[in-house]
């Protein structure tokens, strides 16, 4: 696989997204909102005498919300990838270029992954800044970033995002309508979200260990899904079933 070819496809898609304000606003709204709202809960609703261990636990659990954001955002971006080409009727000339299925899929995945993770990290950065502002003024310490935060944001979020991107790209190559792609995309990411929520409720395993286990599982699932998407990508089906 020639990664530079995938990068050409990705930069083109990123240019298209950049010109679509609706996508840009949808992409940025959720992480920014969560980044502001979550710490505000600590700032205004936690009692003054709350133990610092409880605060740390709450902050760490809240960090997992950014994994969920990283899973949800690709339903906006990745679901558009192939359906967008179908709607613009640009798929035939694109498929006629000397580009392999893997290069196309990887390029499309990159184009969805980068802005989704970028937006997630913007939200996460706002979250860290507000939590630290509050924790330093109340407890005299900076709570974030810590090891759990680093694993959750540095490993789990991108790996979960890749899984969501791949699921949505498979759906996007199979359906002919953007709304259908987005609705099916939401269904596809529900199990991932469910796993994240369940994982955050497990008390018996330390959060750091649990995060590493989930991250490893996600990495395996990502690789498996990439090969599945390559195996199920049918240029012919995409062209002949699209009207």
């Amino acid at each position: 696989m020639r990664f530079w070819k995938s990068w050409i496809v990705a930069t083109k898609d990123l240019s298209l997204f950049k010109r679509n304000r609706y996508i840009l606003y949808s992409l940025i709204a959720m992480p920014v909102l969560v980044g502001i709202v979550l710490p505000s809960v600590y700032l205004f609703f936690l009692p003054a005498d709350v133990p610092s261990a409880t605060v740390t636990l709450l902050v760490n659990l809240s960090t997992t919300y950014f994994v969920i954001i990283a899973v949800v955002l690709p339903t906006i971006m990745a679901s558009y990838s192939f359906v967008g080409e179908k709607v613009e009727k640009s798929l035939e000339p694109l498929l006629a270029t000397p580009t392999t299925d893997g290069e196309l899929l990887f390029g499309k995945s990159l184009a969805a992954f980068l802005p989704c993770m970028g937006a997630t990290y913007i939200g996460a950065a706002i979250f860290v800044a507000l939590v630290d502002y509050w924790s330093f003024s109340r407890l005299g310490v900076f709570l974030l970033p810590n090891a759990e935060w680093a694993v959750i944001n540095g490993l789990m979020a991108p790996l979960a995002c890749i899984l969501s991107v791949e699921s949505n790209i498979i759906i996007s190559s199979k359906v002919n309508d953007i709304r259908a792609a987005q609705q099916l995309g939401v269904f596809a990411v529900l199990p991932i979200i469910l796993v994240m929520i369940l994982a955050s409720t497990v008390q018996s395993i330390p959060l750091l260990t649990l995060s590493l286990i989930v991250a490893a599982s996600l990495a395996v699932a990502d690789i498996a899904l990439f090969y599945l998407s390559k195996a199920t990508f049918r240029r012919e089906e995409i062209l002949t079933k699209w009207r």
């Binding site: 009727k89 000339p93 270029t97 000397p98 580009t99 392999t100 002949t240």
Partner: protein, 309 residues
Amino acid sequence: MIETENLTRKFGDLTAVENVTLKVDEGEVFGFLGPNAAGKTTTVRMLCCLISKTSGKARIGDFEVDREEDCLAIRKMVGLLPENVGLYDTLSAYRNLDFYGRLYEVPTQRRQENIERLLKLLGIWDRREDAVGTFSKGTKQKLAIARALIHDPQVLFLDEPTANLDPEASKTVRDFILELKKEKRTIFMNTHNLDEAGRICDRIGILKTRLIAVDSPENLERGTFKRKTVVHLESVSDAVLAAVKKLSMVKSVHTSENKLILDMDDPEKDNPELVRAIVKAGGGVQYVTELRSSLEDVYLKLIREAEAQ
């Protein structure tokens, strides 16, 4: 350059293309005529390695269509103008071409030169930074042709290049194809436009799932219907008619107002004797012309025959 042998494609029970055997030489402009759903686009898609064949063989240059290891090489050497232009409306004309140039692995310097040359040739250079969405249909079509040429392909597939264009835009596109013909590129063109096919193509194939006929436009016009000799007279007298009927080379004769319409095997050889006989019988010959069938007549006859089978 393009060769197919019994090329067939089925979609379930439906046969879209059946046993198409043809050969297109290097530098030739080949026109594919046929009604809607005749299998023209399916054939082009098979030849561009976009869809697989059900059976038969096809080659582009030295490469076998449908063989996975050859498909990338085929895609690299062919340019495709699909039925729908499929440009990115929010990107500029330059960015559209640059994107495809990069995918076709055209080196930066040559890519920039090609974009400039093609956009100038098509008269869009001044609008190179405008979003394609602001272009007219004709300008988009021209840009899509430029896209198909960005990597200097040896073979160009054009699927309905002037469909839905106004006469002026059609002419621009047609003139451009004629320019490409001068560059000796192999062009395979699907079209409904018989007049256009007759003017541009060296040879024409008429397709209705099966290939019904392949020949030059002139030969198709001559071969399908017999040519007739038309003699315009001052008036058609009984003596002239009798004299003409006596001639052995005249197979049949009809009159229409002051014209004699004659069927003959070899008009070039027999017309002088025919004229001499008419003059000798007292006929006043005004002029002698040839009655030829048009490509449209040929096309309709062949398609109706194919449908009747």
